[in-house]
Amino acid sequence: MNRTVLLVGLIIAAVLVAVLFAGLGKNPAEIRSPLIGKTAPTFALREVGTSRTVDVTQFRGKPMVVNFWATWCGPCWEEHPVLVANARMLQPQVQFLGVVFQDKEDKILGFLNQRGSSYPTVVDDAGKTAIAYGVGGVPETFFIDANGVIQAKYSGPMSPDVLRENLQKVMKQ
């Protein structure tokens, strides 16, 4: 029996199978955010349909939910009512903010007028804020605590349970 072949072969086989097995069940498209536990990048953007600026630092001292979305994104339509209802419920303890990028002003206004709104929505024209937040797609929601530190990020449409779960992380203090 050739011991070298056996040893080398078994090692390669074991490592390969173990690694592939560990990869099963994970979604490779889901990217975890490196910003969790770090201070949220600050920004001041124009509120849609107005010439007012909304500066995110003005909400310091309150936990925040920042939701990146767009009108052409299907799951964003799904989650919108959840966000609007919860925002209404939780004000003024928690501040909700919507950030739209890669979209057209009239479409955003039309969407909000039709489907309701209970919190400010700002426009991030060149998507720079999205890039600073490491947004890969829409919808993505960031949960920021009262000190301005990002405690959680969720990719995908928000459901009431997920919202509740993540809110707990920022409302602890």
Binding site: M1, N2, V5, L6, V17, G23, N27, P28
Partner: protein, 671 residues
């Protein structure tokens, strides 16, 4: 009616394969001729049932029978007929059924063509083949069943993925890929049989070589078609991104190429048997790994089928195959004793050994790059990427070394060579290197690696051309006419040699074309209003306007451009954005003008029908078409080499010359 029929046929194939495998191994142990006969019958029965099942599915697709689950999944009455046929392999369940059919055809053919003179190895080989077949039939019968009955059949279906309908290459790339991938099972079976028997004799070497060569040809073409398709369809101007699934198709090709070379040394010198067998085993294992990578959802890839339950099942089969192979190799490889020797480092045998090393290194590098993110995530929980920069950095030097060996290897003689012989063999081709280098430089090549590639390529080209025509030249020296020598020496007697050197010549063209087309490519991003002309890559591009074209399954918005050079119009290019009914986002489709010298490629990134504006990227790349053409030449050369030689010419020992020149072998070579 159809769905239950399909399920029955699949179960029949599973039974035939499982029973046949057991009988095959039993016949191998007892050397029972009757056992072997039964094993063969079950092999044919497996083939018949799986082929029938596939034909049933094709019928169901063409008849739009939506009571069959797979048809409900990918069928549609709105799509053209060729897309209906193509949808057989467009989605996971159908593709595994297709795999089964191809395997059935291969097993039946292999069983039939080796039914005489290979009885020693056939039982175990059939056992291995049918064992693999049983696994795939199990997948089709269970986790990946396309024959479920749909309770309330819909009136119509969604059709296959829109991306797959974009181009006709979609029709031929997958079948070629399967004919390559699946075919590697056959030499694997023979290699296992050889290990089990503890002998790698001539009567198994020939079947191994031929059963390895055919899938290799298909695999080569498949990889080329994949690259060509990516180039024509995806719009980023490239043809290879080192995507995990692309790598999955390349890995077995690399080890198969090494095995095809290594087997030559076994045939001639009786050495490197262990290497050869290991390379063949590795090829099969990489095929299984490849199919796992594509279907498990573990890898982030453009090609991935959706995540499904069959991932763990395939991993289980991979683990079992790995264990079986490692055990077989560990316990039996020492039985394959070398029967010859190497005379020195400056010999063709030694070059083959180095060749093996380089291919294995390249395989290892591509494999580790593909799998590394998984390792890191498992160990550190961190997500990272390994992309083109890594793979390019590693494969370019290795590729250059392989090109170097492609030149030096065939130049060196077999066996012992004097210093004078070595000098005579290795020095003259330097002329070729210089010629190619100058030609490339004049053409515009400047980057160091491209110049190195040109030099090595020129060297190899001279060696290849020289070696290619040795039989003909020898005959002419003995008095034959040019035509006679050519026909006899190259076409009738020297097919294997001639074909092989054509493959080498084609490979040189491919590598040089890849080097030049990547390093000399220009990429220009432009924004146009209607009627505007701008410069890109030496051409004048004029935007003529936006057109819209409506087809039953899609709406195309087309940007019309004319391309001119020195005032003369060369072509009209129409890149488009296709909006398919079933997809939310439109899919871009570039347009390419291909000539022998260069490609002009326009990709549409943004188009506004109202304002008649368009944003495009213009790529100009030289010599791209030679990549596709050379691979086709490679396939043809290999096919030519496979055409059987005339029946055995038995030569007595006094005539045995041991010389390299003529292909007549003194060992009886069966036709």
């Amino acid at each position: 009616m159809i769905a239950p029929l399909g399920r029955i046929l699949i179960l029949a194939s599973l039974f035939a394969a499982a029973a046949g495998a057991l009988i095959g191994f039993y016949a191998g142990r007892t050397r029972s001729a009757e056992g072997l006969r039964w094993a063969r019958r079950f092999a044919y029965a497996y083939a018949a049932s799986i082929i029938a099942a596939t034909l049933v599915m094709v019928y169901a697709l063409l008849a739009h029978d939506f009571s069959v689950s797979y048809v409900a999944q990918v069928g549609s009455t709105q799509i053209p007929t060729w897309v209906t046929v193509v949808s057989l392999w467009s989605s996971l369940e159908g593709s595994i059924l297709f795999w089964g059919m191809v395997l059935g055809i291969y097993i039946a053919a292999a069983t039939y063509f080796t039914r005489e003179r290979h009885e020693e190895y056939q039982p175990d080989a059939i056992g291995v083949w049918l064992g693999t077949a049983a696994f795939f039939s199990f997948l089709i019968a269970g986790p990946a069943n396309p024959f479920h009955t749909v309770a309330n059949p819909p009136l119509d279906g969604p059709g296959p993925n829109a991306l797959l309908q974009n181009h006709v290459l979609m029709a031929i790339h997958p079948p070629f890929l399967y004919l390559g991938y699946v075919g590697m099972t056959i030499p694997f079976g023979f290699a296992c049989a050889a290990l089990i028997k503890g002998r790698l004799g001539h009567n198994v070497l020939k079947p191994i070589r031929e059963s390895l060569m055919l899938p290799w040809i298909f695999q080569s073409v498949a990889i080329m078609l994949g690259g060509w398709w990516a180039y024509e369809v995806l719009g980023w101007g490239g043809y290879w991104a080192w995507d995990p699934v692309e790598n999955a198709s390349l890995l077995p090709w690399l080890t198969a190429t090494a095995a095809l070379h290594s087997i030559m040394v076994v045939e001639r010198r009786g050495i490197l048997k262990g290497w050869t067998v290991t390379l063949i085993q590795a090829t099969f294992l990489l095929v299984i790994l490849g199919t796992f990578m594509t279907r498990s959802g573990v890898f982030n890839s453009v090609h991935s089928f959706t995540q499904s339950a069959i991932g763990p099942t395939i991993l289980g089969f991979l683990a079992a195959s790995l264990l079986f192979t490692v055990a077989l190799l560990a316990f039996r490889i020492d039985k394959l004793e070398p029967e010859g020797r190497i005379e020195g480092a400056a010999s063709r045998e030694a070059m083959f050994l180095i060749n093996n090393l380089l291919f294995v290194l390249l395989t290892f590098t591509v494999l580790i790059g593909t799998v590394f993110p998984l390792i890191v995530e498992a160990v550190k929980g961190k997500q990272m990427s390994v992309g083109r920069p890594y793979f390019d950095s590693m494969s370019i030097p290795l590729g250059a070394l392989l090109l170097f060996i492609l030149g030096v290897g065939p130049a060196l003689p077999w066996g012992r060579a004097t210093a004078a012989q070595v000098k005579k063999a290795l020095l003259p081709p330097i002329l070729g290197a210089v010629v190619f280098l100058i030609a490339g430089y004049l053409f515009g090549a400047r980057t160091p690696w491209t110049l190195i590639t040109l030099a090595f390529g020129g060297y190899a080209a001279q060696v290849t051309l020289g070696q290619m025509f040795v039989p003909m030249l020898q005959r002419m020296r003995n008095g034959d006419s040019f035509a006679g020598a050519f026909v006899e020496g190259q076409l009738r007697r020297g097919r294997r040699r001639f074909g092989s050197y054509i493959v080498h010549a084609a490979m040189i063209v491919v590598i040089i074309a890849i080097a030049i087309s990547s390093s000399m490519r220009t990429q220009t991003e432009l924004h146009f209003v209607k009627g505007q002309t701008q410069q890109a890559g030496g051409y004048d591009v004029t935007f003529q306007g936006v057109e819209q074209r409506s087809e039953p399954h899609r709406l195309s918005t087309i940007g019309v451009f004319t391309v001119a050079k020195d005032g003369k119009e060369i072509t009209r290019l129409e890149p488009r954005m296709n909006q398919y009914q079933t997809m939310r986002e439109p899919i871009g489709s570039p347009d390419v003008h291909t000539t022998a010298l260069r490609d002009v490629y326009i990709s549409l990134s943004n188009v506004d029908t109202l304002n008649q504006t368009a944003s495009i990227t213009v790529f100009v790349a030289p010599l791209v078409v030679w990549i596709w053409l050379a691979v086709i030449a490679m396939a043809l050369g290999a096919l030519f080499a496979m055409i059987p030689a005339r029946r055995a010419v038995i030569v007595t020992t006094s005539e045995a010359s041991g010389k390299d020149s003529l292909p007549n072998r003194t060992a009886p070579e069966t036709a």
